[in-house]
C-alpha cells in the first residue's frame, strides 16, 4: 500500500508539472490550452533528437529543450496566436488550440523526417526509444526507485517550490497574479498585461516541456500518449479550480496515487472494460460538476461571442443565395456526368456525410453558443445503436430511427448535468463525456459487437440505392437542405428568438420568462439527433460501423474544421465537410506528406485568432469593404463615413459644436497659473457604435481639485476611463505635461503618473492587502505607519475587507508615492459617512502635496467641499467650468436638470 502511494507520487509528479503549466496559462490569459500536451511532445522530440540522435548527454539535452526550446516556442505562440486569441470568443480560443494539438506534433515529425537522412538521426516513430535525463540505463537508487524516477520526483518538488517563490515573492509573479485577478485594474496600476501574458505562456510552455522530457522515457514518442497526459493534467487543473497552482500540483500528485490504487485494488472493475482506464476522465467529470459551477454565466452561454454584423444585409435575397445555388447546380451537373463508380463522386458524398454531421455544430455552437466536443460520440452512438437494432432483426428504417432517437436521448442526458456549467467548463465536460463514451460505453461488447462491429446495408429507394455515390450525394443534399430549413425556422421562431435571448443576455431572458435550460436542452437534443443521422449515413455508406470508426478525437477536429469556415451558418458546415473530405485526397494526389495537411489545418488556428468568425464571414466582410469603397469613390461625398461613431466627431468640430462649448477654453486658461498637467482636448469616445463623449475639453493643474459633476449617464466615468487610457478615443487628444499621450496604453500612462481609482473598489480581491500595496509601491511600510488599520490586516485577502477599508486600500498607495494625476471615480459610493470624511481628508492632503485631482461624483455636496474648480457635464459635453465660488444652487440645478441658465 505504501509502495503504491510512493510510486504513485512519482507518476503524479509528471501530471503535477504539466497541470501547473495548464493552470498557469489559463489563469493568466483565460485561454485553455488544449495544445499543452503537444508542446510537451514537441519538447520531448527535441530532447530525443539531441540526446539519442546527436549523442548529447541527457542533462544537457534536457536543459536546452526545457529552458531553451520550450520557452521560445511558448513565446512564439504567444506572439503568433495567443495574444490575438485573448480577445476572440471562446469557440475560437478552443478551436485554435485544438488546431495546434494537431499541427505541432505534425510539424515536429515532418522536420524530424526531413532531417533524419541527411543528419543520420534515428526515426521518431514507435521504434524510437528515448532515454531519461539521468544516467542511461537508469540505475537503481533506493527502495526500488531508479534514477529517472528519483530525478522526476525531485525536479517536480523543486519546480513546485520555485513556482511558488516566483508567484508569491517576485514582482513578476505579483504582476501576473494581479493581471489574473483584475486585468483591467492591473493595467491601470501600470502593469503591462500583455507582457504578463507573454511571460505566462513562456513559463507554461517550459513546464509542459519539462513534463514532456520527464515523461518521454516512459510513454515513448507518441503524440497520442501526450494527449492522454494532457487529459489527466486537465483533471488536476480542474481540481485546482483552474486558478490555484498549489492545489493543481497537489491534485496532480493525488491523481498518480489514485491511479495506482485503482490498478492495485479495484479488481471489481475488471468486468467493465475500460472503466479503470477511464478513472482520470471520471474524476474530471466529477470535478467539473462539483467544483466548477460557473459564477459568471448561466446555462452554458458564452455571452461574449457576439455575432458578426451581417455584411450582406443590403443585398437582395436572390443575390445572397446566388453563389450557393450556382454551386449546387454545378455540383449536381458534375455528379450526373460521372460514372457510378467514380472515385471523386464518392469523395464528395463522404464530404457531404461530414457536412450533415457538421450541421449539428451550427445548431449547438452557432445558435446555442455552447462548444460541444462530444459530437463524434453522438454520431457513433447513433450508428452503433442502428447497427445493433438492424442486427436484432428490425427493419432498416426503424433501426435508423432508433439510432437517431438514441443519439438525441444521450444528448439530453449529457445536457442535464452539463448545462449547470458555463463556458469552458461545459466544453471540458463534453470532452470528458466523449472520452468516457470511447473508453467505456463503446467497449461494451454487447453494444458495439466487439471489434467486429455491425454490418449495415445500403439504403434502398426502389429505383436506386446508396451504393451508388451519386444517389448518396442527392440524398445528402436533400437532408442538408432540410436541416438548413429547420435551422432557419428555428432562428425565426419563438423558440429560436428565446434561444438567442438566452445566449446574449441570460439574466434578462430569465426575468422575462424565457427558460434557459429548456431551450438549451432542446438544442442539444436536436444537434445530437442531426449528428446521429449523419453517423448512421456514415455507417451505411461505409457498409459497417465499429467502435473505433468515429473516435472522440475526430469530434475535436470536426469542430475545428467547421469553426474555421464559420459555425453560424449551414454554408460553413457544408464547406467544412467538403474540405475535410476533398483536401486530404488532393494532398495525397500531389504526393505531399500527410503531416503537411495537418500543419496547414493547424495554422487555421492562427487565422482564427485574427478572424474569429471564420472564412465565410471574412469573405463577406471583405466584399462589404470593397463595395463600401466603390460606393465611396462613386459618390462625390468628400468624407465617407464607414463607422457611425465617426459622425459625431465631425459634429464636434463643426462651428455649431464649438459654439455649444462656448467659452470653455478661456475659462480653463486661468492667467498666472502653471501649465495644466493633464489636458483633454475635444475628446470623442464611446463603446462600439454608441458615442458617449462628444467633444470634451478639460484641464487639471497641479495641486488643484477639479470636481466633475453631472447626472447619471452624462459621461463622467467614460471621461475618467479615457483620461487613464482605459478606453481609446475616436477623436481629440489627451496631453500630459504638454505631451500628446493619446496613443499610449493604460499601463504606460499609469507609469507616467496618471492613477485612476475606478468606480467600485480599485483593489485586487484575490491578493492580500500587502500584495495590493506592492502593485504600486516598492515597500508597503509607510502605508502601515499612516494607516494602522491596514497594517493589522496585511495578510488578509483584499476581497474580505469592508468597503471602507477597500477604498482606503485603493487610495493609500497614492499617499506614499503620489501620482501626478489622481482620478477618483465615485470614491464615496456606498461608504459610511465617517469613512467618507477620512477619504476626503486624504484628498486634501494629496492636493497639498501638489497632486492634480479629478474627482467624479454624482452626489455634489462632498465633492464641492474640497473642489477648487467645478466642471458640469451633460450628454457627453462639459457645459460649464468655473471656480468653486461661482457654483450656486441655480447652476447645480441647471447642470443636473439640463436647464440653460
Amino acid at each position: 500500500m505504501l509502495a503504491y502511494i510512493l510510486s504513485g507520487l512519482v507518476t503524479g509528479a509528471v501530471f503535477a508539472v504539466m497541470a501547473s503549466g495548464l493552470t498557469l496559462s489559463y489563469a493568466a490569459t483565460g485561454v485553455f490550452n488544449f495544445a499543452h500536451g503537444a508542446v510537451g511532445f514537441l519538447t520531448a522530440l527535441v530532447f530525443f533528437e539531441l540526446n539519442v540522435g546527436l549523442g548529447w548527454p541527457g542533462w544537457a539535452a534536457g536543459l536546452l529543450a526545457v529552458l531553451g526550446f520550450a520557452p521560445l516556442l511558448g513565446y512564439g505562440l504567444h506572439r503568433a496566436m495567443f495574444r490575438g486569441l485573448a480577445h476572440a470568443g471562446e469557440t475560437a480560443q478552443i478551436v485554435a488550440t485544438i488546431g495546434l494539438t494537431i499541427a505541432l506534433p505534425a510539424l515536429g515529425l515532418l522536420i524530424a523526417d526531413l532531417v533524419e537522412e541527411p543528419f543520420g538521426l534515428p526515426p521518431a516513430d514507435a521504434t524510437a526509444l528515448p532515454h531519461g535525463v539521468g544516467p542511461y540505463p537508469a540505475v537503481e537508487v533506493a527502495f526500488g526507485f531508479d534514477s529517472d524516477q528519483v530525478i522526476t520526483f525531485c525536479v517536480a518538488i523543486l519546480v513546485a517550490a520555485g513556482l511558488w517563490l516566483f508567484m508569491r515573492h517576485t514582482p513578476y509573479g505579483l504582476r501576473m497574479r494581479a493581471s489574473v485577478d483584475r486585468r483591467r485594474l492591473a493595467t491601470l496600476r501600470g502593469i503591462d498585461a500583455d507582457a504578463s501574458s507573454a511571460l505566462a505562456w513562456t513559463l507554461s510552455s517550459a513546464l509542459a516541456g519539462l513534463a514532456g522530457v520527464l515523461a518521454v522515457p516512459v510513454v515513448g514518442l507518441d503524440s497520442g500518449a501526450f494527449t492522454v497526459l494532457l487529459f489527466a493534467s486537465a483533471t488536476a487543473s480542474v481540481f485546482g479550480r483552474l486558478r490555484s497552482i498549489p492545489w493543481t500540483f497537489a491534485a496532480g500528485l493525488g491523481l498518480g496515487v489514485v491511479q495506482n490504487l485503482v490498478a492495485g485494488y479495484a479488481d471489481f472493475a475488471a468486468e467493465i472494460t475500460g472503466l479503470r482506464t477511464a478513472v482520470p476522465v471520471l474524476l474530471l467529470f466529477a470535478g467539473l460538476v462539483l467544483l466548477n459551477r460557473s459564477r459568471e454565466r448561466v446555462a452554458g452561454s458564452a455571452a461574449e461571442d457576439a455575432p458578426p454584423p451581417d455584411y450582406l444585409a443590403d443585398l437582395p435575397v436572390w443575390r445572397r443565395r446566388l453563389p450557393w445555388l450556382v454551386s449546387l447546380a454545378a455540383l449536381l451537373v458534375w455528379t450526373f456526368t460521372r460514372p457510378a463508380d467514380d472515385f471523386y463522386v464518392g469523395v464528395v458524398a463522404q464530404g457531404l456525410v461530414l457536412a450533415l454531421i457538421f450541421c449539428s455544430f451550427v445548431v449547438v455552437t452557432g445558435i446555442g453558443g455552447m462548444v460541444n466536443l462530444a459530437q463524434a460520440a453522438f454520431a457513433a452512438m447513433a450508428a452503433l445503436t442502428c447497427g445493433w437494432a438492424f442486427a436484432s432483426g428490425w427493419p432498416l428504417p426503424v433501426a435508423i430511427l432508433v439510432g437517431v432517437l438514441a443519439a438525441a436521448a444521450v444528448g439530453v442526458l449529457v445536457a442535464m448535468p452539463a448545462l449547470r456549467l458555463g463556458g469552458r467548463i461545459l466544453t471540458l465536460a463534453t470532452l470528458a463525456l466523449a472520452l468516457l463514451a470511447d473508453q467505456v460505453l463503446f467497449q461494451v461488447d454487447a453494444f458495439s459487437n466487439g471489434t467486429i462491429g455491425w454490418p449495415l446495408p445500403a439504403i434502398s429507394f426502389r429505383v436506386a440505392d446508396t451504393t451508388d455515390p451519386r444517389v448518396r450525394v442527392v440524398l445528402l443534399l436533400v437532408l442538408i437542405g432540410l436541416v438548413g430549413l429547420l435551422v432557419r425556422n428555428l432562428e425565426r421562431s419563438v423558440s429560436g428568438r428565446a434561444i438567442l435571448a438566452v445566449r446574449s443576455a441570460p439574466a434578462a431572458a430569465a426575468t422575462v420568462g424565457v427558460s434557459g435550460p429548456r431551450t438549451k436542452i432542446m438544442l442539444f437534443a436536436l444537434a445530437s439527433a442531426i449528428a446521429g443521422l449523419g453517423g448512421v449515413l456514415y455507417a451505411t455508406s461505409k457498409g459497417s460501423i465499429t467502435a473505433t470508426d468515429l473516435p472522440a478525437f475526430a469530434g475535436f477536429v470536426w469542430l475545428a474544421v467547421v469553426v474555421l469556415q464559420g459555425v453560424r451558418r449551414i454554408g460553413g458546415a457544408v464547406l467544412g465537410g467538403l474540405i475535410a473530405a476533398v483536401f486530404p485526397e488532393l494532398l495525397a494526389g500531389w504526393g505531399v506528406s500527410a503531416h503537411v495537411g495537418a500543419i496547414l489545418f493547424g495554422t487555421g488556428g492562427m487565422i482564427l485568432a485574427k478572424h474569429p468568425d471564420g472564412v465565410l464571414a471574412q469573405l463577406a466582410e471583405a466584399r462589404h469593404r470593397r463595395r463600401a469603397r466603390r460606393q465611396a469613390t462613386a459618390s462625390s461625398s468628400p468624407a465617407p463615413s464607414p463607422a457611425p461613431s465617426a459622425a459625431p466627431a465631425t459634429d464636434a468640430l463643426s462651428p455649431r459644436g464649438r459654439a455649444a462649448l462656448g467659452a470653455v477654453p478661456e475659462n480653463l486658461a486661468e492667467p498666472g497659473r502653471a501649465e495644466p498637467v493633464l489636458r483633454l482636448e475635444g475628446v470623442v469616445a464611446g463603446y462600439g457604435d454608441v458615442t458617449v463623449l462628444r467633444g470634451v475639453d478639460l484641464a487639471i493643474h497641479p495641486g488643484e481639485v477639479v470636481a466633475l459633476l453631472g447626472a447619471n449617464g452624462a459621461g463622467k466615468s467614460t471621461t475618467c476611463a479615457v483620461a487613464a487610457g482605459d478606453l481609446p478615443v475616436t477623436a481629440g487628444a489627451i496631453l500630459l505635461d504638454g505631451d500628446d499621450v493619446t496613443g499610449r496604453p493604460a499601463h504606460r500612462r499609469a507609469r507616467a503618473g496618471v492613477l485612476l481609482a475606478p468606480e467600485g473598489r480599485g483593489v485586487f480581491p484575490g491578493l492580500t492587502v500587502e500584495e495590493n500595496l506592492r502593485t504600486w509601491l516598492e515597500s508597503p511600510d509607510p502605508v502601515y505607519e499612516r494607516l494602522p488599520q491596514l497594517a493589522a490586516r496585511r495578510t488578509v485577502l483584499a476581497g474580505a475587507l469592508s468597503g471602507g477599508e477597500q477604498q482606503l486600500l485603493t487610495l493609500a498607495p497614492a499617499l506614499v508615492r503620489p501620482p501626478r494625476v489622481l482620478i477618483a471615480d465615485e470614491p464615496s459610493l456606498g461608504l459610511a459617512p465617517l469613512v467618507v470624511e477620512q477619504i476626503f481628508a486624504l484628498f486634501a492632503e494629496l492636493r497639498q502635496r501638489g497632486v492634480a485631482l479629478l474627482l467624479v461624483e454624482e452626489k455634489a455636496t462632498e465633492a464641492l467641499a474640497v473642489a477648487d474648480r467645478v466642471a458640469f457635464m451633460r450628454l457627453g459635453r462639459i457645459t460649464w467650468t468655473g471656480p468653486r465660488s461661482e457654483v450656486d444652487a441655480d447652476r447645480l440645478t441647471a447642470a443636473y436638470l439640463g436647464v440653460s441658465s
Binding site: H131, D222, A263, A270, V471, A581, A588
Partner: protein, 410 residues
C-alpha cells in the same frame, strides 16, 4: 420557404435520373492488360501513436521484383503502384481502398497491413481481392480478404491457434505442471487477444494462473508496481513460470519486463512484438528484453531455410542494407501468396476467376509462413508460428515455423 422546397424537389427529380444511367458491366477486367497486372496496398505508414507498418511496402516490392525479373506471371508483369497511408484511421482506409480501385484501377490490393483498416466492406462488395495481415475481424468471413496466415480474429466456435502454447511446451520440455500468466491492456481488442492466447497455452497443457486486463490501453503506465505485484503472487503467492504479454508497443514491454526483473522474476517472458531488430540498436532496451521469447508468425530471418535466404536476397536487390522487420516479412509473404494464386488462376484473368481459384480448395505450403488453405483460413488462423529468443544481444531461432491443429474458440 416555398422556393427552397422547389429546389429540393428538383434535386430529388435528378436523383431519379441518376438511377437510370447505371454503368454497363466492365468489358475488361480492371488493372489487367496483356502484359501487366496492377496492384497497390494500404498501410499505416504514419499514425499518432508512431506505429508504422510502412516496411511492408518494401517487402511486397522485393517479392514482385523477383517475379517480374523471372518474366512475370503468365506473361504479365506486376505493376506495383505502392501503398496508400491510412494513418490508422478507418475512414482514410476506406477512402484509400476506393481510390486504388476506382481511380488507380488496380486489380487487387496487396499488401493491406493496417490494424484499423476501414475498406473491407467496400472491397468485399466490389469483389476486389486483398492480401495482408488479417489481425482484425473485418478480414474474417469474407471471400475477398486473404490474410497471409489466415484470419487471426476468429469468431467463438471457429478454430483458434494452439501453436504458441505448443511451441513453448516443446521449447521448455513439456507443459505439465507449468503455469502461465497473460497480461493484456484494457480494451476489447487486447482482451480478445488475451482470450485466444490463454486458450492456446491451456490447449498445450499449461495451467493458466492469471489473465489480467488492467493496463491502461492508451499509454504505458509510469508505474508498473501494481501490475508486477499481481504477477509475482499469481501462482499461489509465487511467480508463474511464464508471463505472456499481449500489449503492442516496445515501450509497454520494456516497462513490464524491466519491472518484473527488478522484482526478481526469473521465469520465461514471451510476446508477439519483441522480434524487432531496432531493439538491438539500443543497448538498454536490448538488456531489458534479454531472454525474451518472441513469437513471430513467419520463419525468422536467422533461419537457414532456403526460402529465407531467397527473401534476404530479394530485399537486398531492391534496397541494399535494409533492416529486416516483421512488417517487411508480412508484406513479402502476402505478395508471395498473391502471386501463387495468380499463377494458379491461369492466363485468362478476371477477378471472378481469381476469387474462384482462391476460394476453391486453395492450398499452398511454404517454409516462410507454414501453410495456407482457402476458404478454410478465411475463418481461422493457419495455426503456424515460430519462436525466437533474444540471447546475448542477438536473436536466435528457438523453434522454427511449425503448424498445429486449431481448437474451437470458447
Amino acid at each position: 420557404m416555398r422556393r427552397e422546397l422547389v429546389v429540393l424537389a428538383a434535386v430529388v427529380a435528378l436523383a431519379g435520373c441518376a438511377a437510370q444511367q447505371k454503368t454497363a458491366p466492365g468489358a475488361q477486367t480492371p488493372g489487367v492488360t496483356d502484359t501487366t497486372v496492377k496492384v497497390g496496398g494500404v498501410l499505416t505508414k504514419t499514425s499518432a501513436s508512431g506505429y508504422s507498418t510502412k516496411d511492408a511496402e518494401l517487402g511486397a516490392r522485393a517479392r514482385f521484383e523477383r517475379a517480374n525479373a523471372a518474366g512475370g506471371v503468365h506473361g504479365r508483369k506486376i505493376e506495383f503502384v505502392g501503398a496508400e497511408d491510412d494513418t490508422q484511421d478507418a475512414a482514410k482506409g476506406d477512402a484509400a481502398a476506393k481510390k486504388l480501385v476506382q481511380k488507380d484501377k488496380v486489380f487487387a490490393l496487396v499488401p493491406v497491413h493496417a490494424p484499423n483498416f476501414g475498406g473491407a466492406v467496400f472491397l468485399e462488395q466490389q469483389g476486389v481481392p486483398w492480401f495482408g495481415w488479417a489481425t482484425g475481424p473485418q478480414w474474417c468471413g469474407t471471400r475477398t480478404g486473404f490474410g497471409y496466415n489466415g484470419c487471426l480474429a476468429p469468431k467463438p466456435g471457429a478454430g483458434s491457434q494452439t501453436w504458441w502454447g505448443n511451441q513453448m511446451a516443446d521449447l521448455l520440455g513439456g507443459a505439465s505442471g507449468k503455469t502461465v500468466y497473460v497480461q493484456t491492456s484494457d480494451s476489447s481488442g487486447s482482451k480478445y487477444g488475451g482470450k485466444t492466447i490463454s486458450q492456446s497455452f491451456q490447449a498445450a497443457g499449461f495451467t493458466l494462473v492469471g489473465l489480467n486486463s488492467a493496463l491502461p490501453g492508451a499509454a504505458p503506465p509510469a508505474d508498473w508496481l501494481p501490475y508486477v505485484n499481481k504477477i509475482m503472487t499469481s501462482d499461489g503467492g509465487a511467480p508463474p513460470d511464464i508471463v505472456v504479454s499481449i500489449i503492442a508497443g516496445t515501450k509497454f514491454n520494456v516497462g513490464l519486463y524491466s519491472a518484473l526483473k527488478k522484482a526478481g522474476y526469473k521465469g520465461v517472458l514471451s510476446d508477439a512484438t519483441s522480434y524487432d531488430a531496432a531493439i538491438l540498436k539500443d543497448p538498454a532496451t536490448a538488456m531489458a528484453l534479454e531472454g525474451v521469447v518472441a513469437a513471430p508468425m513467419f520463419e525468422p530471418f536467422e533461419s537457414s531455410a532456403p526460402e529465407i535466404a531467397q527473401l534476404r536476397q530479394d530485399v537486398e536487390k531492391v534496397s541494399p542494407g535494409a533492416t529486416l522487420t516483421q512488417h517487411l516479412a508480412i508484406g513479402y509473404w502476402s505478395a508471395d501468396i498473391f502471386l501463387k494464386m495468380l499463377e494458379q488462376t491461369g492466363r485468362d484473368l478476371t477477378r471472378e476467376k481469381f476469387l474462384a481459384t482462391g476460394n476453391g480448395s486453395f492450398l499452398y505450403e511454404n517454409a516462410g509462413f507454414g501453410k495456407i488453405q482457402y476458404p478454410k483460413d478465411h475463418a481461422e488462423p493457419n495455426g503456424c508460428g515460430a519462436l525466437v529468443k533474444l540471447e546475448g544481444g542477438a536473436y536466435r531461432v528457438a523453434k522454427s515455423m511449425k503448424c498445429f491443429d486449431n481448437v474451437p474458440l470458447k
